[in-house]
Symmetry: C2
Subunit: 281 residues, 2 copies
């Protein structure tokens, strides 16, 4: 495995792979890898010849008051984990090389980025779309892998790829959870012992929603009300949103039918966590 | 030469060319071809193996009150002209295939798109950047060719390509003029006899500016004042802007030195025309 910092060197490497007609699998990450990321790598390893992982804490997807500076970073640890799963190249660019002086260009998906996480994280998806477009242009992957935990991100990226005719396939892979159900996230490291215990309630609330819906509850306010009560029963919790929406356009459901998305964003202490469940009715 | 309407067929064709390691030259146009476009084709023909021209009157770069519907179209004529200059493929997509139902994604370059033409044509460059990104993703050109007549467009596209790491080289080719100096434009067809006569004043004003600056005039207000008087001496004319700016960032000049851009946008009758001249001081 090699670690490439320079954009020029990466372009050279990618050209070489294309010449050899190798297919490229791409796993974009912000590092501080966990089993969620590694499951994407394993899938890429199975489906493509060359696996490229980017590690880049992207400043443009953080609002000024958010945790860009505090976001956990540990390249040494990431290198070991990536190598153990068969990554061929880690692309680890500097902020300055990705956004040099005079940078002015942004990619934005409208409408579906202003609901759910987009409502409380202004500009977040514009930053995500911009950096993902840049990385796609640099890595030129045949297939790119995203986690279902960031469900809205996956929907937005799929929309962007389709709209801009970007020649890449998008795979969205299942959420990987801790034994007690908490969805894996680099931000879980922020939680103290008490908060970590309380955080279990997020998945519990999702499971309760699933149970209620599968048992026939059709009043969504009853379902979200129950979820809200569960979440707020923990003293460290605060709700950003609880939503039951269409899996394609993220609109609130008019009828519970087909594939539906139950999604939560909440703070446990000062840590904002998200999780979701797709339910087939 | 072949004409391809379908995005799928174009992708197939491009894949085939890439497999044969052909280099691709790309000339994006809105059709109604003139010598300006053809000069780009000839340059592409010299520098690349396969020359693709797109003909697409892009609705997203027109404001609601602008001339999208009236814009001149004549595919038969364009096919003949393109073939005679050695175009290999004309890509001629429908609006519906480029912007299908549910379309939501836009590419925007900030700051340099809100001056000059961007001031009077709100959203114009957002539409241009979006369609050019889409076309680049579809055609995957090694080199793309733009005319200097749309100078701001060329500056914006170069910025976008650099910022988004799009793997394409941009060539900006000289303005082609009628014998009397009028810059070639598909919109010249809108002019009646009287207006066509008056339109000559645009290039005359640019030449006057060049003469004054090369003769030592350093007061830009004196230069633009003279240009304004010349343009307004024609009864059918109305000025949008006259600007003398930096060729890279399009900012007003603080000092006349190096390469500078003198640019005009004005209406002759109801027709909005643009032209420019680069002066080396």
């Amino acid at each position: 495995m090699i670690v490439i910092r320079s954009i020029k060197k990466l372009s050279c490497y990618i050209k070489g792979q294309k010449k050899k007609t190798k297919t490229i699998g791409f796993v974009p990450t912000m590092g501080y890898l966990h089993e969620g990321h590694l499951s994407l790598v394993r899938r890429a390893r199975k489906e493509t010849d060359t696996v490229v992982m980017s590690i880049f804490v992207n400043p443009t997807q953080f609002s000024p008051h958010e945790d860009f500076k505090e976001y956990p970073r540990n390249l040494k640890r990431d290198i070991k984990l990536a190598e153990s799963c068969g990554v061929d190249v880690i692309f680890y660019p500097s902020v300055k090389s990705m956004y040099p002086e005079g940078y002015l260009t942004y990619v934005n998906v409208e409408k579906i980025t202003s609901v759910l996480c987009g409502r409380s994280r202004l500009g977040h998806f514009k930053g995500v779309c911009t950096v993902v477009t840049k990385l796609f242009n640099l890595v030129q992957p045949d297939i790119a892998y995203f986690g279902q935990k960031d469900f809205q991100q996956a929907v937005v990226i799929k929309r962007m790829v389709k709209d801009l005719n970007i020649p890449v396939k998008i795979r969205v892979c299942p959420i990987i959870r801790e034994k007690d159900g908490l969805a894996m996230s680099s931000r879980n490291t922020y939680l103290n012992e008490r908060e970590r215990e309380d955080a279990k309630v997020i998945y519990k609330a999702l499971c309760k929603a699933k149970e209620m819906i599968l048992e026939g509850e059709r009043n969504l306010k009853v379902v979200t009300g129950k979820m809200k009560n569960l979440i707020l029963s923990k003293p460290t919790s605060k709700i950003d949103y609880i939503a039951i929406v269409d899996t394609e356009n993220l609109n609130p459901l008019e009828e519970i039918k087909g594939k539906i998305l139950v999604a939560i964003a909440c703070w446990i202490g000062k840590t904002r966590l998200i999780d979701n469940l797709i339910i087939k009715v």
